[in-house]
Symmetry: C2
Subunit: 204 residues, 2 copies
Amino acid sequence: MKIITISREFGSGGRELGKRLADELGIPCYDHEIIEMIAKENGFDERYVANVSEKSIEAAYPLTIGHRFAMPPLQIMDQPIRVAAAQRQIIENFAKQSDCVIVGRCADVILEDMKPLNLFVYADMPSRLQRCKDRAPEGENLTDTELMRMIRQIDKQRLQHHQMYSDMKWGAKEAYHLCVNTSGKEIKSLIPALAAYVRAWFEA
Amino acid sequence: MKIITISREFGSGGRELGKRLADELGIPCYDHEIIEMIAKENGFDERYVANVSEKSIEAAYPLTIGHRFAMPPLQIMDQPIRVAAAQRQIIENFAKQSDCVIVGRCADVILEDMKPLNLFVYADMPSRLQRCKDRAPEGENLTDTELMRMIRQIDKQRLQHHQMYSDMKWGAKEAYHLCVNTSGKEIKSLIPALAAYVRAWFEA
């Protein structure tokens, strides 16, 4: 079984890299699909799941309250844990079905026993800013400072979320088999060689 | 100009990877050659240069004294600086001559202006121990604890040496374009894909 997990800094192009790598390898890539399934199976709003699914349980609370769920405190506390459990289940099911690429959501830790190839994708701040601007929704006009704050905040949440699952530090190279710096590079052009590396790694 | 620098944890196979990658790309690899040239041009002992060339100036002193150079203090202090200057000059000359792979010796920092591809090679401790044992000279019978101490000590020296040249921390992924974890893998089998990645990276 060839499972490739992608962990990525926000704005580094990790999601694009995951999709393209999966296409090149002819296997499915799971990313937002995971959120959709959790939301559907648990009757949650997708935006809520997206928020909770890569945050620490602590960080998730104010959001839940912010979204005005009219629930007793115990149930509010229970929700992020249910999301985490559903996420684990769905990721394990995807991985058992076939070779695949899974983006984010601590799949590297969740699937540890299946010996996945864990990729980390990162880039310098100018590249990440540029990527965020290129992909910004119509009408979003954040300044560089605001964008940088958002990038750092999201990465901080990913780090905290990862700590719930593992002693290994999110982003520490020791936790990954290959770390790819995409700064100033067109991701598309790196894909054939990366796919070759993945194939060689599983055979080596 | 395609310059590839290899930084590596001790025992990770970085030197082997550098040599094989250079062979695959059909370009020269400079490693021990740098030490030989410094030694020859400056009338130093090769072992002395090897010791000094990847250590911090501070760490190099006791060794100099340990080797009983009969010199006044000022000249002793002067030597590691002369080695560092010679090293810089030789590395720059190699890089200007042709595409090449350069292993260690802060070539990533020294050649920054030439926009090299900086590779970092690392591995987990069990793999590094095994590699050290496989390559130990006849009659060397260090225990695992002794080997681990040596591995950590050498990496610490590389880190300190790097600090003389750069604000970037040795081994921090941000300083490299690709970080390759060789744990449990035969390096030879990863080379064609790595060479493809190098070619793509310079064209991307």
